[in-house]
Symmetry: D5
């Protein structure tokens, strides 16, 4: 059994039982929506306790439940550039705004990156009379480039408030 086969099976169950992701997330337990749905789509792992509840709710086998707790080979179901319009828009935002984002983050924080691992994201509906909006809040720990071997007087990464 591959992780792709498990994902396909979960989507079949969801269709057969006419479940929503919201119902599945609630039955799985407490964790960010995007992480639970990501795990069921083969991009994240579920902690053991959540995997057990999710498997029970969906009617998975013990072996399938255990596979949900394994770290998957991430990123393999996402053709890049994305062919799907919903996903492509995020790719485009990065392509167009990337240079400015790099300059603004570095001027504020110094040399480093926003972590994609110690990272949280929420997706919400933002009501708007001109048409509701998708609001996406991302928060990732800033990780400064470490200057190993640098003498004591060297500030960490050229940060403004270093």
């Amino acid at each position: 059994m591959t992780r792709d086969q498990l994902t396909e099976r979960i989507l079949d169950i969801k269709r057969e039982k006419r479940l929503t992701w919201q119902q599945i997330v609630e039955a799985t337990g407490e964790m960010a929506d995007v992480l639970i749905v990501g795990a069921l789509l083969g991009q994240m792992r579920l902690p053991e306790a959540l995997a057990a509840k999710s498997a029970a709710f969906l009617g998975l086998t013990k072996s399938e439940e255990r596979m949900l707790t394994e770290v998957p080979m991430r990123g393999q179901n996402s053709p890049m550039p994305p062919t799907d319009p919903l996903l492509y828009r995020f790719y485009e935002l990065l392509m167009v705004n990337g240079p400015a984002m790099k300059e603004l983050i570095q001027e504020e924080f110094g040399d480093g990156i926003m972590s994609a691992i110690d990272f949280d994201m929420a997706i919400e509906r933002q009501p708007d009379p001109k048409g509701d909006r998708v609001k996406i809040s991302m928060s990732g720990k800033f990780l400064p480039y470490k200057y190993y071997g640098a003498g004591p007087g060297v500030p960490p990464n050229g940060a403004k408030n270093g």
Copy 2:
């Protein structure tokens, strides 16, 4: 003169005059930071009034000022996948979380996309005792797929609250 040559010249001026983006943004006028910096890096255009102020502050020629008001061929300075670590992390976030984002947005809003055109973004420092965080807030208008020719009883896009 190409837009790339203008961008390079602006970066040279910024270095020579030891300016920060914050100073340049303030001198340019009122508009989202990411749009002003994006325009100076050749990814956006500046409205005429802002271009005039920015050019005056930086010491650009009339012709350079006018070029700043032209819509550029966007996205050409962003190799994809990004080779730069700061930018790559956003690419990775899309690759890994994309499948879940698609499912969650569609379950909430129905068939459609978040606009990358009617779109706003802010980047902030989020103080945190375990290490400050980069907070990125995105908000884009939801655009439902239009079902042209569909009869009157058909809801717009399969949305929950359609």
Copy 3:
């Protein structure tokens, strides 16, 4: 069951029953042809009412009918550049005329794009003594780039009639 398997099955049924797309479209109900055929080929979704009629006409199972109402991962059955000559011609038209289209649309509408979501298309035969022509009419809402944070005096997107 994957969406590709459903598409293949629909094509098998169409062949076995010697149906035309026109017959299938009529049996499915009121909506643009390109949307109905697109859904049956796995690129669009069918509203519930239309999926029910289409499934009844083709003899699909309940599960297959429901899958027709799901938003597919779009664009995955279209190798780019297209290997098929009929499709390649459109790709070529974009490659050759793209620069002029960008200039003409922007001069007329200002900075922005034609929506690919709020978009309608019709394909017709245009009789011509020198050989009939394929007439394709596209109409997409113009979406101006939003200048968030811009002061009140700034016109929306540099449009001629802004």
Copy 4:
């Protein structure tokens, strides 16, 4: 002198003299807008009479005028997939709607293609209270696949009205 250098020079002149494409098109003479602008951007050629008028209006040299009448190596200034959002939307429309377009054109016309050479296109503003729309009308001669060597009773290309 390369064609790219000529294109860049024309854009410099347009910026310096604060010309619009509409003014340039009118000064160049009678031909579809998209063809004239395409030629000035290095994707089409101008007939001699139009090249002369265009060159006079823009102030080009004899050699530059002559280059405008040469057939260019088309398509080389269009990175594919397009990085620019305005152009990408057309690429996406082809990727998403391509399979349906192929089926619908073939069912109506039989085996063949829409010509990209005997082809006309117009771009217009379509006023709409919900937001003006970009209307693009394309018309290309249908070219049936020729069945060379086929006996007399064989219809040209499986066309409906063959």
Copy 5:
């Protein structure tokens, strides 16, 4: 059943019955060899009469016969650049001689292309004492670029004999 599966089945039958393409072509009826073999390999369609004879000769089912009359998604079994040496040589000829071919065809015919749709090809053995040669004769209709909207005095495409 996919078109690839049909192709594979035809190759199995050919191997089992020890048939040559020449025998199959003769049994299928009158049409250029390259078109008949192309159709059996999934790149062309067979007119109904020829599909019936071909299917009878090979022992195909009704459904398989009908699939032979469908226009295939062309070009999908040809990796490019070709990995096979016989096919690669044609690719190389285009790469090396392409620039000269473009100049010579345009000088003779004006701005336009050789049609790949109204196109005929024959492959023959050309006996030669220094080693027999493969002779390939191609003939495609010249299609001049149409200058839509051009005034009456403009020759069609800059042709020598326009």
Copy 6:
């Protein structure tokens, strides 16, 4: 001086002196048109005698003349797939007809290839009341795969008339 710079210079001279390829070919001497034009475009070499005459006619320096006799790094000015429509049609013909060409050549000649080195090509106008045609005649020596080490009874390459 690179070969590309020489090619660009020759094109500048041709434009300035308003020469046609036919005039240049005649002044260069006796050899297939496609080879002479190919050499001037940097894809072939000219024999010394022809290089001398060509250089004299065009007004090239001794060093430029000598470069024309050097074997170039072939194929570097031909983006593949070709972006230019005239060249793309040949690419498409190979993609679509390649599988049939391979079968037909191998059934006639056995295992081997048509040489792209011992190869001749001519391009002609084929008058036709329905529209003149481009006629391309190719002839390449058939090169059978050599079965080194094979015993005496083994025919060269499975050829029909081996």
Copy 7:
């Protein structure tokens, strides 16, 4: 049955019967090792007599035996650049030494290529006290570019000893 399936089956038989390639080559008959093993791996064809012996030795069916005599679609099981280190080294040798090889072969032989069709290769162990070496001897017929249409005084290809 595809050629890949046959290759996989031969590898299964080899594993089950614990055969070496040397044993298989000897049982197949007289021909260069690299050609026999290449055929069994789906890259070459076996002459009929050798296919019969090979099939008998391995226990293949008549249909499988016949497939071994068919010319395969070469090169499809070799991802390029090679991911396997043993194969990559040859790729690297070409990348690094290619420019020098081109110059040296052309200075000695004139304009042309080493044939990859009339080509022989042997792989041997070269004992060496500092570590045995892999010795690869290649020999391919030199094929001079033919200057079709060239006058009588033109030497074949600029060769030193032309």
Copy 8:
């Protein structure tokens, strides 16, 4: 001035003055060798104090010195896969050993990654009678995937010692 131009200039100075990297590193000050050399090659930034010393030693201008303190667009001078053999071996090691490294790191540390930002590396000569060896020591902080929103009983990332 671009960063590439600065890198080229530094390499010219190093060649003219016959400097070694070791001399440059010592003159620049205290920091890991790989970081200092990386900065001078345009992949890292130098802290201000070190940039000043390095610039003085090399004879750079004030503007060049300041550019050394800017964060570069990383990774743009490294074609991937690397064409250079020394660099390719590391690429190959990752391709071949990657799957095992992923399993072993995850079994030891749980779900997460080794940081490429909080990362140190040293390169040393390891004397060996059979031939000296290159010893590379890497050390990167382990960053566990954060399970945002997970309840209190959930261990951080499935780590053995979580």
Copy 9:
């Protein structure tokens, strides 16, 4: 049976029997962890003795055991660039630090490479109060480029201590 199928089967057994890699490595015998796990994942071979023990522990068939001793086609399960974050970080480290690594290794050792074949690697946990670290120690034999044919006075590869 393909090597991929064997890998998948081993992962299924590991999941069913709830084994860790550490248990499997210990049961397989003495050899570097990364080599044993690599072999079980289809990237390395196991010596016969170790394959026997591993197969007995996992419950593999004789044929599967024998396949473990075969040299695999390496590198085929590693998409590059890696889509998985854990693996991508190593790719990024090479892209960013590659230029400096090349300079430092060559200055110390002269012209040559670190072997990826005579190579050893160990992965360890490095406890650290600020967060444990992944320590990776690599050691590969330095292989100097051989200057074949060079006279006696030429040092091997420009090495410092040559």
Copy 10:
């Protein structure tokens, strides 16, 4: 000065002075032809003594001479797949014969590779009445995969004569 600029300059000198590679190699001194020519084309380095003689013969500056002794970034002037026919044939030979070469080398030598660093190559004319042949002799040290950590009874790499 970049290495590419130096290569271009050497080719200009060679053309101006009408030198052959043979003359340059002889003037440079004793080393394999392919290495000397490779160095002058920017793919190898010259030992100091040879660089001095080569520079004197060609009339290079001191700085150019020194650059010839530097290790270049190898492989960057070789587009892959090669567009040039002479070079492509070697690429094709690897693609077609690669699988057999891997099997034959591994059966003879065990698990490992032929070194591309401790490697020698010679190119010769092999006179043949049916047409002279290019003979290429390669010899590279066999490098067995090292099984680090393996117990004493384990043979090095599964070699026949291990």
